[in-house]
Symmetry: D2
Subunit: 345 residues, 4 copies
């Protein structure tokens, strides 16, 4: 059994890791930390875990964490950056669900996250953990930067187009929508049910932290500059991200082969599902599941290819992808603990 | 008092007309028809109207309707097209909330609505009732084609850009999201709470009936061809539309004057509210109200202008705009019956 | 024009007062206070009020408030108790939406609200503002204690039964359910959309602050001791309270006259609507409206009468009833500003 | 591997059976029938099952069903009653999720379900499948009548009180609330999102089909007559039932031992969880899971014991309990396929 630790376990990604790992055949959660809730039983905070865990939250303690084979960081940005190096030095492998190691350009990181980066060395060594792009590197990685939720849905949707240089990269549009759990579990007025329920709005339309992460990923795929407009929106639901992506084909004749191209690209991917052309993936079809489900569309004779892509922001967009990465890192069946159909309805 | 009739009053736009007109100082609803519910009191079907109306649904009867000053059609497409001409001939003015008279090109109409158009004469005379564009024509109109919900939010958002030839019109994007009331009140499995709740999806991504209406409107504004990708989405809420619009400026230097341009364009409009640059209008801020509220955004140094625009699909997107049109047609205060703040929270 | 002030205007009852008073023909809001948001425009915090108010929040200032004809307190408990006496002494009339003056027995008050009561004099003079019970006293009142939301729905539902001594008063049950806005607008984790959405639970089942208020009211109606079990529940919606009430008839033969009794009792009440026997009032039928809508039920030959009663917790359960009380106090039409149909759907 | 068939698989209990059985180690679904959708792949109707099932819906065919070890009926009432006898005669065991075999008194059944019962023989032999009450009988059963959703939550909550004769049985109250999936997946106007969302109401307050089932169960537990008021309510969410139960203790001194009594009664039950006294179980804590979670409450010195009990109506209230029953019938680990934590948030 792999011994896993979780740092910062009181948020939604923390409980989601616990939920997924509760049925993972090869992993045991040996510790979970929280400064604010140390001493509390996890099953008292998250009553869905009653009967599954005897564990209590503890103060973060490097000695204890160093006894783990792998540590997940489910912390606000800035924490993993500071705690990871010592654990890595002691041979613990890390999957960081925060943003600390996602951005290569540390000046960009510092600008968007409002603090200087403190460990350029590990930022350089970290592997950006999108398995569909970097599976081999993940296998060897000591430190995996688990992708953001929006970036996962957007990158997987654009990937075959960009890898194959099929679209004009100057004016991509990624219009993305997320349930409220993406904002975490802090007591913010703006995230009250009374504020979020029965309403819809864009936010971060002038710039969101996932924009540089998305651009970095798309530019790597395109091997060149990419201009992308990315607007996130808040949906009055708990889980789920839908991204509607727009790109103009260099050659509209390519429309004929797009569906086959997408199916081929993702044929062996256990967690990407390309639906028939013109389908409309729903977020509920992946609720609680690790998949990214997508479909392609064309409007009349327009040269614009439209991709709709859905994930559960807490699963393929966070904890599920983290477990997928762990499975790869430890040579397990990549699907271990992740083969459960979505909860629908 | 203006005597108003409503044809097809059992749907959501019907009850919304009744709700708005209940407090309108100059209008009395003298009849409301429904084939399926003839004989039922409107207050039995819509209990929010208990105490406001004694009216019952009746079979549609041209003689009765001919006694009205104005008739609202809140019917599926195809009905107004057949019933309107006789009423118009007898001097009744009409606001048609259906799609029958929105599209100039009747071949286009026939293709999207799946039937031939039966009255080219009135289709040619009908005024497309977007007051911000056609107020004077509405004033004289015998027959007003009340705009669709998505087209209202999208057209008002793009209007100042197109009128002023500021953007490349070949690749506009209108990513729009609507609450479930937009689908009407038929018992369709796909619109059950168990299907719509806690999920988000695109629909009609390969072509939606509002696409030709949007294109027609934008092309009129731009006085030329427009390429627009329009994808509607279903939001797990009841009321509200948000449209996020993307257009590339011909000259990025124009960004500096966009805000002033929008404010100027809509300064005298009673039902368009331009928020400060970078604001995020929420659908709840217009819930139950006739306004379109919008804001402009730019991402770093991108040439793309982003407009976010919200309406209540049943009000400014349907019944409210219909009443606004009626007010204009009858020389009333344009805001009569429509001056009530949105219900928030 | 009556000059009204609002103390503590940033919460949901504050904005709801503003929304209702925006269209009140006889009242002008001359000041609204907030310690935390002083200087902010109310229309910046509540965008539904853009175009309706130029007002900004100010620090509470007794001199300014003393210039009002009436002051609404929309504050946490403990505030009105301290600020009201000076204003009352200066001739300002007060409607207190908080719990400070609702409970006659100040020991009971102190126990449930966790602080000693500081003004026994005004607690004794305050009129409990349930117009259906105390209209004449309200007319004369200097200080009205606006009833709690649950107590309004529960008391109006039981009233005819208790006034007429028809039921066994030892074991009443009031099972009540509320939308999330009842918890106010503080940033509490438990009220996040991610916590409240798609879930249902009881809370305060071992004792809620509205229990003594309910018991006091029911005992006054019954002119004797009442045993009542009251359990509130949290519904994943924003507005609305439903109370399902159970009482055993002393004489089951009385079932035959209950409907007539209820209709008679509330015949002249502008804001209580007794539906036909066996109807099921929905909270949405009063959304945004000041009514209490109710119906009676019997199961086979059971001696238990069941009453279902709905209100909008922010309107008849708070701000609407406060305006109704104000209207009574100032001799206005009791319905002024309150005659708008509920927003349905 | 046990070969299971499902009759009537297009509803919510059908897809839920498929979801649960997808990961059951000992069961294979060999056929699923639907008259209306014969020929359609289940994964096309329920996209969450893409990648889990190759199965398509077929016309019901007794020959095929007779080849199953067990058949689940997930049909409207009246179907199992007619189809089950032949299958039973051929040695197929049956778990009927419909109401056909739940009521012993066939006159009562006929009255509530509006048709005569056609197989008194099997109605007499059927075992009411509440494992916590009838595990041994279920083990031997050929035909199990899977309990209704409300009856499960209500009976488990009252069980220890009634078995131990602790409460007055003449005036029990069961105030129950359910998400919309309990109404099934038919296209009824009243269950549209636009009708159900953001509203709350009682329904069936004058008598609901689950009332006789509840009474029958409670009377068996109490070994005597029971008077129970049962009011169901519709909650604007998809899954979950909460029942708040009220009963008056014969001897209030018994309050001291109730918690221990409940814990003892359910100590060995894998799917009943008694929380600490005064806890508030949430429906989300069992979303997608087979548990019934409950807690006890007392208000001050009242003699009334209050029990709050939650289940997922589609799991412990339907498909999960059906699988639990199947596990018992076939001597499997009772928890097989059912050990997955609830989806929270």
């Amino acid at each position: 059994m792999i011994k896993a630790g979780i740092v910062g376990g009181t948020g939604y990604t923390g409980v989601e890791l616990l939920r997924i790992l509760a049925t993972h055949p090869d992993v045991e959660v040996s510790c979970i930390t929280s400064r604010s809730e140390a001493g509390m039983a996890v099953a008292d905070m998250y009553t869905n875990l009653r009967g599954y865990y005897d564990l209590s939250f503890t103060e973060p303690d490097v000695e204890v964490l160093a006894g783990c084979d792998l540590v997940f960081f489910a912390t606000p940005h800035g924490v993993a950056m500071r705690m990871a190096p010592e654990l890595l030095a002691r041979g613990v492998r890390i999957v960081d669900l925060s943003a600390d190691f996602r951005i290569r350009d540390l000046d960009v990181w510092a600008r968007w996250y409002g603090m200087p980066h403190e460990t350029a060395e590990w930022a350089a060594k970290a592997v950006y953990g999108l398995p569909e792009v970097a599976r081999e590197a993940i296998r060897q990685a000591e430190l995996v930067a688990n992708p953001g939720c929006y970036p996962t849905a957007v990158q997987l949707g654009f990937l075959p187009l960009l890898e194959n240089r099929l679209v004009r990269t100057g004016h991509l549009v990624a219009d993305a929508k997320s349930g409220a759990s993406g904002a975490g579990r802090q007591g913010k007025v703006g995230m009250l049910h009374g504020e979020v329920g029965e309403s819809f709005k864009a936010y971060g339309a002038s710039g969101h932290r996932h924009l540089p992460e998305i651009r970095q990923g798309l530019e790597q795929m395109a091997a060149g500059r990419v201009g992308v407009s990315f607007v996130p929106h808040l949906v009055p639901m708990i889980r789920g991200i839908e991204a509607t992506l727009y790109a103009e084909l260099n050659d509209p004749a390519d429309f004929d082969r797009l569906q086959a191209l997408y199916e081929e690209r993702y044929r062996d991917e256990p967690f990407v599902d390309v639906m028939p052309f013109g389908s409309h993936p729903e977020t509920r079809s992946v609720r609680g599941e690790n998949s990214c489900r997508m479909a392609l569309h064309r409007q009349e004779d327009s040269p614009v290819v439209i991709v709709t892509s859905v994930i559960d922001n807490l699963v393929k967009g966070a904890a599920g992808q983290a477990v997928q990465n762990m499975n790869i890192m430890f040579g397990l069946d990549e699907r271990a603990g992740l083969r459960v159909p979505a909860l629908l309805p």
